[in-house]
Amino acid sequence: MKQQVRDDRDFQSKDLEDIDSGTNISLMLELYRNMVRIRHFELKVIEIFAARMKAGDFPGALHTYDGQEAIAAGVCSVLRPDDFVFSTHRGHGHALAKGLDLKQVMAELNGRATGVSRGYGGSMHLYDREKGFMGTNGIVGGGLPLSLGTAYASVIQGNGRVTVCFFGEGGSAQGSFHESLNMASVMKWPVVYVCENNFYAATTHVSVNCPLENIADRAAAHGIPGVVANGNDVLAVRETAQAAVSRARRGEGPTLIECKTYRHKPHCMVIPEHRPRKEMKEWLSEDPILMLSAKLTAQGYATEEELKAIENRELELLDEAVSFMQNSPFPDPATVGNTLWA
């Protein structure tokens, strides 16, 4: 059954002078746009992959982000364009929220030469160096140690860039999680660890991966703040992330943020649903996009029509991305070895 979610937004309220209170309307509409973009992107990719599978053209593994959009949108909304993001196997949302091109991501997922990784990577290996997007990752916990390095580089280069590293609650059972938080804490490096606790790692309940009620409390082992946010409330996520990112940017070291959330679809396309119906129903009723749109309309920040217009524009862009992908060539096998060495 759905857990009550702790909200630690006041975890260091005295330090939060630069927190945006979230009442800025255009910002909220931007968050909305971003979440809707991710949601429709994922639904479209599922459609495309399902069609390809039906046609006997196995498209590779697909872990979609729908249901968790508030986290990527909220966290990335407080980042500078040159900040670094490390993502996971469930990373399309992070990629889009960090500003990656819809067309190039769609192309990559379908193995086209115009993809963000030129077709070499696919869903679990999306990279965009220019955008500070340091990769989705096929290895659970794989991004965590690497996030130390960009954080260190920011210190030595004195450029104020902050690193954000996403991972699932399952990933918090990997040794690399602890090695990374520990070293970041000892070194006071500017990195923010964002755990997306969607209560399952593939089919395994969080209680098998962690004996604590909150992953955030693992921060205690490493002497850093550990805070919980409602991962379906984009404003709560944003506010929590803002505090942690500011703290990092000020040189005060890392923070562990846990965002409680729920994925809408099964773990990946080839694994059947196994979660309790009641739990699913409760969580689906707290859809992060509906939560935000309800707030926007209730408070008179936007009309249903304005929101629909945003959504329609995103659907147009998505269609363009699909066409772009479909008209893109596959990578040339003759040059496959050319990019191994620099």
Binding site: G111, G122, A202, V336, L340
Partner: protein, 335 residues
């Protein structure tokens, strides 16, 4: 060297890979209550590959259980439990995740008997899928058998038929040493007619899958299937003998020698990177003992020395395809 044992007088049925492996584990758990099974998602759900389907229900949560997402802890549990007298089977969801559990497997489990002066047995079986061809890119497409073979103390099994998959997994579980058992992800649809009931296939015995006179092709796992297709394709012109070692350690080098003595020519095919792969190791051994009888230079057709790329167009360029095997057979025969 074994022979294909398909003429056992038992009723026949068609069997696929996962069911074959599930049966093997089920039978071994029924036979020996020291056998236990754990890994990610393998409990009530039955494993992401359905390998352990029904087993937790049958053998209980003590003997079949889900672990945290911690491969080092999983392998550590296996090695420690073996030290205490159990016969654990640990599942890795992909053999690629070896990188997360190298120490308990390589530094501890594989070396334990040796380092302790022979005091311990370490009868663990690690089961995992391997291989490319499923558009899963650089972190989910490796086989890594060369690492496993270079490190002393591990047995390595990579079968290519349903009969062997079941029979060898049973032998692996019964073996008193650490065994890594790999099945190929591109073989889930393979179906074979086999008998009902139990059988075992011993570790360390190669099988001549097809007899021939002009060239010996050594291939295992999916590449054995593909080598047989290639042999068929060139059969009008070239008589190909296909030897499937089935286990790579212990390797039945005698069977390969016997075949090469007959054909005088050797091609080894494998999909993992060529550099420091099994191919070179077999060539090394054959050249050392059969140099004078060789009619042409032995050759290795291995995978590209590249990570596995995502796009199909790239991926298939990195792993030996039917046409590549045909071409190399011709090239070795032409000398």
């Amino acid at each position: 060297m074994g022979v294909a044992q398909k003429d056992v007088a038992l009723s026949k049925r068609r069997l696929k890979l996962i069911k074959a492996l599930n049966e093997a584990i089920d039978e071994e758990m029924a036979r020996d209550d020291k056998v236990c099974l754990f890994g990610e998602d393998i409990g009530a759900f039955g494993g992401v590959w359905a390998l352990s389907s029904g087993l937790q229900k049958k053998y209980g949560k003590h003997r079949v259980f889900d672990t945290p997402l911690s491969e080092s802890a999983i392998l550590g549990t296996a090695v420690g439990a073996a030290m205490a007298g159990l016969r654990p089977i640990a599942e890795l969801q992909y053999i690629d995740f070896l990188t997360q559990c190298m120490d308990p497997l390589f530094n501890q489990g594989a070396k334990l008997r040796f380092m302790s002066g022979g005091q311990f047995k370490v009868p663990i079986t690690v089961v995992a899928p391997c291989g490319a061809g499923t558009s899963e890119a650089a972190h989910h497409s490796q086989s890594l058998e060369a690492w496993l073979l270079n490190a002393p103390g591990l047995k390595v099994v990579m079968p290519s038929s349903i009969y062997d998959l079941k029979g060898l997994l049973k032998s692996a579980i019964r073996d008193d040493n650490p065994v890594i058992f790999l099945w190929h992800k591109a073989m889930y649809d393979l179906e074979e007619e086999v008998s009902e009931g139990e059988w075992t296939v011993p570790l360390g015995e190669a099988l001549v899958r097809r007899a021939g006179n002009d060239i010996t092709v050594v291939a295992f796992s999916l590449m054995a299937v593909r080598a047989l297709q290639a042999a068929e394709e060139v059969s009008a012109r070239i008589s190909v003998e296909v030897v499937d070692p089935r286990t790579l350690k212990p390797l039945d080098i005698e069977a390969i020698r016997t075949s090469v003595r007959k054909t005088g020519r050797l091609l080894v095919v494998h999909e993992s990177p060529t550099c420091c792969g099994v191919g070179g190791d077999i060539v090394r051994q054959i050249v050392e003992s059969e140099f004078k009888g060789l009619k042409s230079a032995p050759k290795v057709l291995g995978g590209a020395d590249l990570p596995i790329p995502f796009a199909k167009s790239l991926e298939s360029a990195c792993v030996p395809q039917l046409k590549d095997i045909v071409r190399q057979i011709e090239s070795v025969v032409q000398g």
